[in-house]
Amino acid sequence: MDVNVVIQTVISALTSSAIYILVALGFTLVFGVMRIVNFAHGAAYTAGAYGMFILGTKAGLPYVVSVIVTVVVVALAAALIEVALVERTASDGLKTMILTLGVGLMITGAIEVAFGASPVSVPPVVTGSLDIGPSVVPKDRVVVVICALVVLALLWAFLKYGKWGQALRAVSQDADMASAHGIRVKWVRAIGFGGAAGIAALAATLIAPVLFSTPYIGDDALAKSFMVVIIGGVGSVPGVVLAGLLVGFVESVTTVYWDSSIAGIVTFSVVIMVLLAAPNGLLGRSSARV
């Protein structure tokens, strides 16, 4: 067992997991608050990556500035879309899901028309590598993992202690009850939707300097969110974290020791198995919640 290979595999896995967890969190947030599958989630991710491209590569703004502006713009745009469009169909779950699908397609398509299908790059944040034991590990991935951890911690704190965070949780549990307590559910929905898009965009901004971006990265992000949320259990934050790690590690390990096309099959099969054996996911709440 080559230690170097193990370390590299772990780093790959952690990087992927970090991104999956963040994106899936946004996804499950929308589901909790609005009880819909948000098909536009992938588009928010893509928008985040291209936001970085516009600001970081084309306009040459510093990384942190680009991140903040991108995330805020995407979140606000999403909240606006929610208020303008999604609210209109909010009473019908299926309609809303299809609406988000349409919105997602519009955004993804617009990005493709505007920027073309060829990959674009974002300037790296850090370059170089550091030595961890026998391994040479790229610094940029380590930075991604650390940033993701920080964001995760902040989100957790927000949900637990923040005023709007608690409102989000209240609405997830029981919208009528929350309304009865004076929480303005409509606002919460807008914030939830916008916030979710912002988190997805943030995840994209973290990883964009490391890989290259195309208009199609959102599809993959969406698919991964699906998987992580099923495996982890809808509505459960620890579940998302656990499932995100699981998916990231399964992918990394199967690719390194076997080959990459098997990785996809294995992951999806795990999804199906989890669903059959534990329909609420590994840490999902009881059926009353779902």
Partner: protein, 356 residues
């Protein structure tokens, strides 16, 4: 679980008939017993149009579009069926792939007659659909159902890529032939596809207007108290609907593969499932004619936009958003209402989905 069954709003939602109220069962026997005036008129009109097309200047173009749309429509009919029992299925793409590969490989490798291999494909997908259906009805909510069916399609796609001929697919899938009469010519295939589509629609229509159909509707509306009187559990009906839908998808896969003489896993990914959903929604997901009309519109749109690369995705998005906001019952619903023929439409739309 708090269930939000919202009162019928002013504006018809995606699947609410104007006149029904919550709790009222779908009228039994009504449409089934009356002579289907409108369907016959429509069928005649449609028949005339179909006859005319091969004579027009751009016959080939229309025929090609129609055949592609038929395959989509047949899969869409399956989508409609599953929707009737309360699920939004993303599994149609996966079953289409299985159907295309089964029929394609058997006819290509073993030289069996295409009509036979298509039947085998249908049989395989129906059985597989029943098995998967049994497992899937454990899904706790619509959300789960969507995700599991999506996972299924992806597993199929990836498995085919990995273990059967790879990402580039199978070239050289034979065209159908019966007693020396070859259907390779687009005009001939066009008629074949039209017949298959109409038969599929008729099958679904008959299904929905039988006792079975009424049973499916009551399952969807959650009126389980009717179930014991039939002696069968509601879950069985869901599985049945799913199995038939899978068979339709398998058929659709065969129709497409034997026309293009080709099948590959990439044809049947998430994009395709979205296409089926879009077609059903545009046409009107509560109507049998919905997926058919929707498929025709969608394929026309796509071919029109193929001259402008990249725009078709935006167009689909716009169409979906517009339809959801302004035409919730889809085109069939809209035209049907205008003509005041709501009652005559092939199948009455159902109650809205109960939000979990």
């Amino acid at each position: 679980m708090t269930s939000h069954v919202v009162d019928v709003p002013e504006e018809p939602s995606i699947a609410t008939p104007r006149e029904s109220r919550h709790g009222a069962p779908v009228s039994s026997g009504g449409p089934a017993r009356r002579f289907p005036v409108l369907p016959v008129i429509v069928a005649v009109l449609v028949g005339l149009v179909l006859l005319a097309i091969p004579e027009t200047a751009r016959a080939g173009y229309y025929q090609y579009s129609f055949i592609t749309a038929s395959a989509l429509a047949i899969a869409g009919l399956g989508f409609y069926l599953v929707y009737q029992v309360g699920g939004v299925t993303f599994a149609q793409a996966g079953f289409m792939a299985i159907g295309a590969y089964t029929s394609g490989l058997l006819s290509r490798e073993l030289g069996w007659n295409v009509f036979l291999t298509a039947l085998v494909a249908i049989a395989v997908t129906v059985v597989l659909g029943a098995v998967i259906g049994v497992l899937i009805t454990r899904a706790r909510s619509e959300f789960h159902f969507i995700l599991v069916t999506f996972a299924f399609s992806e597993v199929v796609r990836l498995s085919l890529t990995r273990w059967v001929y790879g990402a580039d697919g199978i070239p050289g899938v034979p065209s159908p032939e019966l007693l020396g009469y070859s259907f390779r010519d687009p005009t001939r295939y066009y008629w074949l596809a039209a017949v298959v589509l109409l038969l599929s629609a008729a099958l679904v229509w008959r299904l929905m207007h039988s006792g079975l159909g009424r049973m499916l509707l009551s399952v969807r509306e959650g009126e389980l108290h009717l179930a014991p009187s039939f002696g069968i559990r509601p879950e069985t009906y869901k599985v049945l609907a799913f199995a038939v839908a899978s068979g339709l998808a398998g058929l659709a896969g065969a129709v497409q593969a034997h026309f293009t003489n080709f099948a590959s896993p990439d044809q049947f990914g998430l994009q395709f499932s979205v296409l089926i959903l879009t077609a059903a929604v545009i046409g009107g997901v509560g109507y049998i004619a919905g997926p058919i009309v929707g498929a025709l519109v969608l394929i026309s749109l796509e071919r029109y936009l193929s001259a402008y690369p990249g725009t078709s995705i935006v167009a689909y998005g716009v169409v979906l958003v517009v339809v959801m906001l302004l035409l919730p019952e889809g085109l069939v619903g809209l035209f049907g209402r205008i003509a005041g023929l709501g009652r005559f439409l092939p199948n009455r739309p159902n109650k809205k989905v109960e939000r979990p």
